[in-house]
């Protein structure tokens, strides 16, 4: 299927330039701007990009295959290593699939805790993205500002879950431990801190003319293309696609909270930037609604020591910080899955990169890649 923009870009490529003066350069696998071992083979004509070809597999750890030899309690911890910035949400998706298959009723308190943790993770992930993206564009200071707020979240996580990044806090049936007594107070302190500092972000970066010039109109992705490439998360929402799983098929207590699905219709890098900034504020809004009303009760449902899924196929999906994560389990009735497949958001978002940057300058590639918010272990798994 050819879209209008693609045909335009192809003619500029073939008719005017030909293969003469073509330059092929490698960005990565070790490159500071790719935030991981992503290898991009870029075909250039001067400074204009003709083609971007991502080469994957440098950090492939065969997590899907590993899961086949782990039990349903054990395989959750591995998924923290996929999208390490939203480890909680990955674990949540896996635990949810197992619960769906075994028809375990999760206690109300556990549902509240899960959603609170998910949203904190989302804020932390977007904070890191904001800092890293500004660093891609040459501004170093925002990185430290973002990490100041992120550090507060990490401390909250460390206190309750026991780890800062790979939490492994979700278990089938609830969460591993009850909330730390200081949790509510610290989260409220964080909300205050965040509200005090979010305006600094706009002051430092959003309003900057140089930044806007590098972002506006760059890396355009139309609504149709976003759908056909399978983009999800902020990347698709910046192009005007309604794809927030929290709204489309609410899980846990998302149906009870009020929040807006952030939509932008421009589809350029600046729109993706604005979507993420606004999403942080929406996450804070969700946390504010839930933090005061955490119900008393169990934090974990009573489950058997050895989990056995019934024979069949099970699928559930969640909205991670990067988009839609789907977990698909094929069970033969034993204690370990027969096959597990993860539909990771990063892979589909990366596939749109070539389409987005064709015909633009190489400097714009870095800016566009920054707004895609790629986490390479999530793409390779």
């Amino acid at each position: 299927m050819y879209t209008e923009t693609q045909i335009l870009k192809d003619t500029t490529q073939t008719a005017a330039n030909g293969s003469e003066g073509e330059l092929v350069i490698n960005v990565g696998p070790q490159h500071p701007a790719t935030h991981g071992v992503l290898h991009l083979v870029i075909t250039l004509n001067g400074e204009t990009i003709k083609k971007v070809e991502p080469h994957l597999g440098y950090i492939h750890r065969s997590i899907e295959k590993m899961c086949e030899s782990l039990t349903y309690r054990q395989f959750i911890y591995v998924t923290s290593r996929m999208d390490y910035l939203s480890a909680h949400i990955n674990n949540h998706a896996c635990a949810m699939t197992v619960e769906k298959a075994m028809q375990i009723e999760v206690p109300q308190r556990a549902q509240y805790i899960r959603v609170l943790m998910d949203e904190l993770t989302r804020v932390a992930s977007h904070e890191l993205w904001w800092g890293a993206m500004a660093m891609d564009l040459g501004a170093f200071t925002p990185f430290f500002y973002a990490f100041r707020e992120r550090e507060t979240i990490n401390e909250i996580m460390e206190e309750t879950c026991g780890a800062r990044l790979t939490m492994n806090y979700m278990v089938p049936g609830g969460v591993m431990a009850d909330l730390h007594p200081d949790f509510v107070r610290k989260v409220k302190a964080f909300i205050q801190l965040f509200k005090d500092h979010i305006d600094e972000y706009d002051e430092l970066v959003t309003g900057n003319v140089i930044f806007q010039n590098r972002m506006k109109g760059i890396g355009y992705l139309s609504k149709e293309d976003a759908i056909s490439f399978g983009c999800s998360g902020p990347v698709a929402r910046a192009s005007g696609v309604n794809c927030d799983i929290r709204k489309l098929s609410p899980y846990e207590v998302y149906s009870q909270v009020e929040f807006d699905e952030v939509l932008q219709t421009e589809g350029d890098s600046f729109a993706r930037y604005l979507v993420r900034i606004a999403e942080m504020k929406q996450s804070i809004r969700i946390i504010e609604q839930l933090i005061d009303g955490i119900p008393e009760g169990d934090f974990q449902a009573k489950t058997k020591a050895v989990l056995k899924l019934p024979k069949g196929e099970f699928y559930s999906r969640v909205e991670t910080a990067r988009g839609e994560l789907g977990v698909y389990i094929v069970s033969e009735g034993g204690t370990t899955p027969y096959r597990i497949k993860f539909r990771s958001p990063g892979f589909s978002n990366l596939s749109a990169l070539d389409h987005m940057v064709r015909g633009s300058k190489i400097g714009d590639l870095m800016a566009t890649m920054g707004t895609l918010d790629l986490v390479i272990p999530d793409i390779d798994r």
Binding site: Q74, C161, G162, N168, L204, G207, N208
Partner: protein, 158 residues
């Protein structure tokens, strides 16, 4: 017209740059609001969170007794084969044979600190310790025996 646009562009860019620099300058003259910690200089005062998962430890009480029955629940729960439990048979006063823990082998180099073993332990014999400085000069030093030499199971733990 072009000159006017050009100059206003420069003016706006400089202005927005100064708006950002104002924020940077604020923190330059307010160093107390900076939250950087000076590790390892603060080692004496650095306190990890209570639940922090640094390594698996087996607490012993003052009589050199632990609570591990050697049931291998942690060994089965571990996703990475980090734990190996070697059991022995002890004679109870009644003359019966009873399974007891001989050696609790813990491979720190394989451990991912997921905490599933602590979750699985029925007697609360193992815990997650707060130590996070694991570097040693030889890899073999990472394989640890968690139960103290001469230790035995606490009375009343089944």
């Amino acid at each position: 017209m072009f000159i006017k646009e050009y100059l206003s562009d420069i003016f706006n860019a400089t202005k927005s740059l100064f708006t950002g620099m104002k924020r940077t300058g604020y923190y330059f003259v307010h160093p107390k609001e900076i939250i950087t910690e000076q590790y390892p200089d603060n080692r004496d005062t650095l306190k990890m969170a209570e639940r922090f998962r640094g390594e698996v430890i087996m607490p012993h009480d003052e009589n050199n007794e632990h609570a591990c029955t050697g049931c291998t629940a942690c060994e089965l729960a571990c996703p990475n084969a980090t734990i190996k439990i070697i059991t022995k048979f002890e004679l109870t006063p009644e003359g019966k044979k009873k399974k007891a823990l001989d050696t609790f082998v813990y491979h720190l180099e394989l451990c991912t600190m997921c905490g599933l073993c602590v979750e699985a332990c029925p007697t609360g014999a193992i815990q997650m310790g707060q130590n996070f400085e694991h570097s040693v000069f030889d890899r073999s030093m990472l394989t640890k025996k968690l139960n103290n030499p001469g230790s035995k199971i606490r009375e009343g733990v089944e």
